[in-house]
Subunit: 307 residues, 2 copies
């Protein structure tokens, strides 16, 4: 009788009709044709460019099935992708496309909870789920593409920093990693757990930084602070000196998964940044490149080295 509650017993057709039912009534100005055909059709307002990114969650790396809350993994997948859109500047989400791989003997709830999580955040972020794909896979994986639109002048790339610019951030540092420790010990609630499962995509802060040209470069710190500072300085051909004195460090800031923003800003614009974003904090300063290389801390999260 146990088979009754597996995905195999529901069948792909059953799961697909749940999906279509769940996502057929979405409304969004850009949505021309949503789930149910070979592809989604979307429209962009004139003058806007498309911003597109993909990020994944894989069993054994980003979560373990013995402790995973699949509804909250739906939230996480949605938010880590929206965070990548935010890291490009003033970007308006247009829609997301989601792939999921589940084993045949997976409990139905894994899939239905995951769908509920997606539906929650589609509503929260007014961003429709426009399509996707289901596969059979012995390990669970989730992949999402987030699509957004922007005015071309409101894009902030990684490479725009100048020597002397301040390095600054918004959002938590190290909190998600603390949350993961709590979860591994069986914890399910609290702010750290929420930081791990429900990171906040800083779309509004990024829009403020891009609209006023306050930031000279922008990235999200999903791979840890050290690595993203190295990205910003490397892309600009600069060095960097990090000082965590002002930063809201709640755990190892280089452990990754925080999804705050890190950006550079001319010192003269820092008062404007603080007025617009009272929770922004300084993290250091961009320096001329040193002969022997960058001064920024090395490290961060390498996806192919055991941590």
């Amino acid at each position: 009788m146990k088979r009754m509650n597996t995905l195999a017993s529901l069948g792909e057709g059953g799961l697909l009709s749940l999906i279509f039912k769940r996502f057929s009534r979405q409304r969004h100005a850009g949505l021309v044709l949503g789930p149910g055909d070979d592809a989604a059709v979307l429209s962009l307002k004139p003058g806007r460019v498309l911003v597109a990114t993909q990020d994944d969650l894989a069993e054994g790396t980003h979560f373990e099935r013995r402790w995973a809350d699949f509804r909250r993994l739906g939230h996480k997948l949605f938010r880590i992708n929206l965070s990548d859109l935010a890291a490009m500047g003033e970007v308006e989400p247009l829609g997301v496309i989601v792939s999921a791989g589940f084993p045949s003997d997976a409990p139905r709830r894994w899939a239905t909870d995951f769908l509920e999580g997606l539906a929650d955040d589609a509503k929260t972020f007014r961003t429709p789920v426009v399509g996707g794909n289901l596969s059979r896979s012995s390990k669970v994986f989730f992949s999402m593409t987030a699509l957004g639109t922007a005015l071309p002048g409101r894009i902030l790339e990684r490479s725009g920093a100048r020597a002397g610019d301040l390095i600054a951030g918004v959002g938590p540092l190290g909190k998600a990693a603390e949350g993961l420790k709590v979860i591994r010990r069986g914890g399910k609630t609290g702010r750290a757990v929420r930081a791990f499962y429900e990171p906040v995509p800083h779309l509004r802060a990024a829009a403020i930084l891009a609209r006023g040209r306050l930031a000279s470069s922008l990235i999200d710190n999903s791979d840890g602070l050290a690595r993203c500072v190295a990205e910003l300085s490397g892309a600009a051909g600069l060095g960097a000196r990090v000082d965590l004195g002002e930063a809201p460090v709640a755990g190892d800031p280089d452990a990754g998964e925080d999804y705050g923003l890190v950006f550079t800003v001319a010192p003269s614009l820092w008062p404007s940044v603080r007025r617009a974003l009272p929770r922004a904090y300084r993290l250091g300063r961009m320096t001329a490149r040193m002969a022997e290389g960058r001064e920024s801390p090395s490290g961060g999260y390498d996806h192919f080295h055991a941590s």
Copy 2:
């Protein structure tokens, strides 16, 4: 010393710089910002809508590591996604975004071969790889989002068939499944193997069907003929009678993975279809819905039932 040739020894940074080197020189009118930032930026020509789809390949389901040719899996991933764009009508590919999950102890060649396969097809189909994501994963998985653009009047949905329309197709039927059998026995060459690894996305045929409004509905037959005929008839509220007499059946047509097109066409337009697409063949006819349900064969490939 064996570790020297693994992805862990190359590191994520090493692999990413290979990727950026490989895909930094792509040229495409729509490409504003390619790999290397948090997201890609693309532009659409005025008046065109965005067409977006996602499809995956998962170890254990779509391939086995003991026999997989990772370069050719790059081809397959590219083509199954372009096939979904083709299945929407006259769609011009704009770019693809690729996610890959590999174990740390995977041979470097799995990743570098896969990248070569992507680069081959980016060139073949003039479709840049605009971004992606790398994850550590105990089972290999690949996920791609294909982005394209279309004039709104050149989209062919699944649901447009009328009773009396002919059902027709282009492309192989059952050949990919024959190829998989050959591959499992150790075969590496031949037309069936090619049908499995390098399906042809029928972008041009779809464009012809959409431009002249020759087809009333369109789908790709990746999930097998029976299932896609059931999709077309179901979406139109019709029944269907299938007759394989004219069809180039080379194996089980319901086994899936062929990536031909299946479409419906008013009988009066069939001569025009044959003139424009001499290799198109008839597959049956749409009928009024029967009280007891569709006449189309049931079956097809269910992703959560063992096959």
